[in-house]
Symmetry: C2
Subunit: 187 residues, 2 copies
């Protein structure tokens, strides 16, 4: 496929496609374009998606439940290998093939089952203590959905998802589309 074709599929310019891919190596041939199968394999290798990752989900509330049901994680190579909570109302619940475990079991389970990524879906006030336990349990990366900045050692990868910023950005884009603030309601 040509860089024009890739550009069309991904909604960027062909120059951007060529530039971005050239950061990682020499994937295309001038005048011939890219071999899609090889390109896909190379990109998955670069992204660390040429393998499956075992994930510990902390928090079996609304957010945890939504993340557990999010099918795209599994498709991209991420498998929830354990769900943990502190609430005795939730510990012991059956979630598909998993039983919700007490957070005190995290360290032993993570080691036994080879979990390497922790997902934090607990209230903000508990986020740092959960992060500390995930680090102690040997996680290599943490994805934080709690609305609180957390600290981890430099050897652990950390990303924080702020859903609020998505709505804030949308509000900004709405304003940008209609800067005078007049509402042109379509019926």
């Amino acid at each position: 496929m040509s860089s024009q074709g890739l550009a069309h599929e991904s909604g960027v310019t062909s120059a951007q496609v060529r530039k971005d891919l050239s950061y990682f190596g020499n994937f295309g041939k001038r005048g011939l374009g890219y071999r899609v199968a090889r390109l896909k394999k190379e990109i998955r290798l670069i992204l660390g998606l040429n393998r499956r990752w075992r994930v510990a989900l902390i928090g079996a509330g609304n957010m945890g439940s939504a993340l557990f049901s999010y099918k795209e994680f599994h498709r991209q190579g991420f498998d929830f290998a354990g769900v943990f909570d502190v609430s005795l109302d939730r510990v012991g619940l059956q979630w598909r093939d998993l039983t919700v475990r007490h957070i005190d079991d995290l360290e032993a389970d993570a080691s036994r089952l080879g979990m390497e990524i922790g997902v934090i879906a607990v209230p903000a006030r508990a986020a740092q203590s959960v992060a500390d336990r995930l680090v102690a349990a040997g996680m290599r990366g943490i994805l934080n959905f709690a609305h609180r900045r957390i600290q981890v050692p430099a050897t652990v990868a950390l990303r924080t998802v702020n859903l609020s910023i998505e709505l804030e950005s949308l509000a900004f884009e709405i304003k940008a589309l209609n800067p005078r603030g007049t509402r042109s309601r379509r019926r």
Copy 2:
């Protein structure tokens, strides 16, 4: 507060703080820094956060439930004014002060209650048809949590949240921290 102080709080350089803010106007005084209260007000105005927004939530499943419970939306000025679904198991459920409504009621409710933003939390296969209904109901912006690219008129702002990319980026960062792939498990 000085740009150094703002930089420290936000984790970027002071030059970046000054550069970013200068895009929008002359907020600081050389040698004196920024008046925090005025700066906050100006930024909220720029972002369209100097007002409240009424939001229609489509999908009362796991993801919808998690978003409805996400307290930060309300704190930033976004209020769910209606929850809609197609499932007769869910229509009629009481969610705090709201009753889950049938999607067929969207247009009338949106107009009556002044909803301007739609949040899509339905399965991927239903995302485009829900988007079409949100557009027909006069929404000015749509936040899409379904894993499907959707099309809306250029007059409607659109953002798609891909939670999978967050885990993929984390996997990439883990690889970058430990490129040889050796696992240095801390006990």
